[in-house]
């Protein structure tokens, strides 16, 4: 039963792991911290998985757990797993693989995002992911109206940072 659950969980996580990468990319600025946060999010998801009742989409629930981990639970640590292919894993998370114009734009955007507060980072990430305001509000625990107002304010703030 546990093995079956584990298999099911790993499959779902594997299919949606981009979500965790995006959260890690927003909340960390080097590959070591990225790996560390990725691991902590994975552990938190696995620990909380038995409580996941399926009344929300797995991906929606994943955003919640990943953001909660990044904002509230994560503490920097060096205690990462020592896998045999750790160097390979390290390589996979380097950020130098975007190309050309997109890379330049994205670097600018990430630089601007890194200047935001923890809460603002979560809100802008959900906005960039095209999440409806209702979902953004439910993920953060605020009202839909305030989510909309705040996202607009952050957008203005980002524009100011991007165009000094």
């Amino acid at each position: 039963m546990t093995q079956e659950l584990e298999k099911q969980f790993v499959k779902l996580l594997d299919e949606n792991q981009n979500i965790i990468h995006k959260v890690c990319r927003v909340y960390t600025n080097n590959s070591d911290a990225h790996k560390d946060l990725f691991q902590e999010v994975t552990i938190q998801l696995w620990k909380a998985y038995p409580k996941f009742r399926g009344d929300a989409k797995f991906s929606t629930w994943m955003y919640r757990v990943a953001l909660n981990t990044a904002i509230t639970l994560y503490r920097k640590s060096k205690r990462r797993i020592q896998t045999s292919d750790i160097s390979d894993f390290h390589y996979k998370l380097e950020y130098d693989e975007y190309d050309g114009e997109i890379e330049e734009q994205m670097q600018l955007l990430y630089k601007a995002i890194h200047q935001l507060s923890d809460i603002e980072k979560a809100l802008i990430l959900l906005y960039l992911e095209d999440k409806p305001y209702k979902e953004i509000a439910e993920t953060m625990g605020i009202t839909e109206v305030n989510a909309r107002v705040k996202v607009n304010r952050i957008k203005t703030k980002l524009k100011t940072i991007l165009n000094p």
Binding site: E6, V10, K11, L13, D14, Q17, N18, H21, K22, F38, Q39, E40, T42, I43, Q44, W46, K47, A48, K51, F52, R64, V65, L67, N68, I71, T72, L73, Y74, R75, S77, R79, R80, I81, T83, D85, F89, K92, L93, Y98, I102, Q105, M106, L108, L109, S117, D118, I119, L128, E129, D130, T139, M140, G141, I142, N146, K150, K155, L158, K159, N163
Partner: protein, 211 residues
Amino acid sequence: MDQLDKLKEAWKSQDYSKHKVSTNDIYKMLLAKSTSYVKWIFYISIIEFLVVIALNLLIDNDKYLDLYIQMGMKNMIQIVTVISYLIMIIFIYLFYKNYRKINVGTDAKTLMKSILNTRKTVKYYIYFNLGFMAVSSAMLLNKIFSSSENTTTYKLKSQIPEAFSDTTLLIILSASMVLVIGFILLVYRIIYGILLRRLKRNYKELEQLDK
């Protein structure tokens, strides 16, 4: 299309396939230990409860028991001890209840609130103990200095020379009591402040959003 809309398009076109973590590594991660903040909160809280219990055991040692008996305080000390243990059990139960409510799958604000509530239980327990310490010390001092007989008994027991004036003794004892409680309170406030700084800041920011 403004700059942010264009960037949103670029954001969506990000390719993470090169960063993909293998399922093999995911399995390994499931076995790794969490370094979660909640885990720290839990351990620190347990340590706080243990420290209070240890202090209770140290203070209630036999050395002073016969002094209390001589001063006619035996019944009171016993009642107070029973009450303090009952209150400790209540606090530990409340702490556990609040701790169990922490759910990482809930919204950000509820999660932060539940962690803060869990910490609050421990904080109130510490404050309760400091208050308790202040009141019982004041009562003890009152009893010691209520009669010259008790004062002499106390001096004898604590190996304080008889010539030492009662007023000086009272001032020294009261000042040390205030200093000890003040010091514990200060250290506790600093540790508590450092531990919860980020969480409180984020919670406040979310609360501000809904005002």
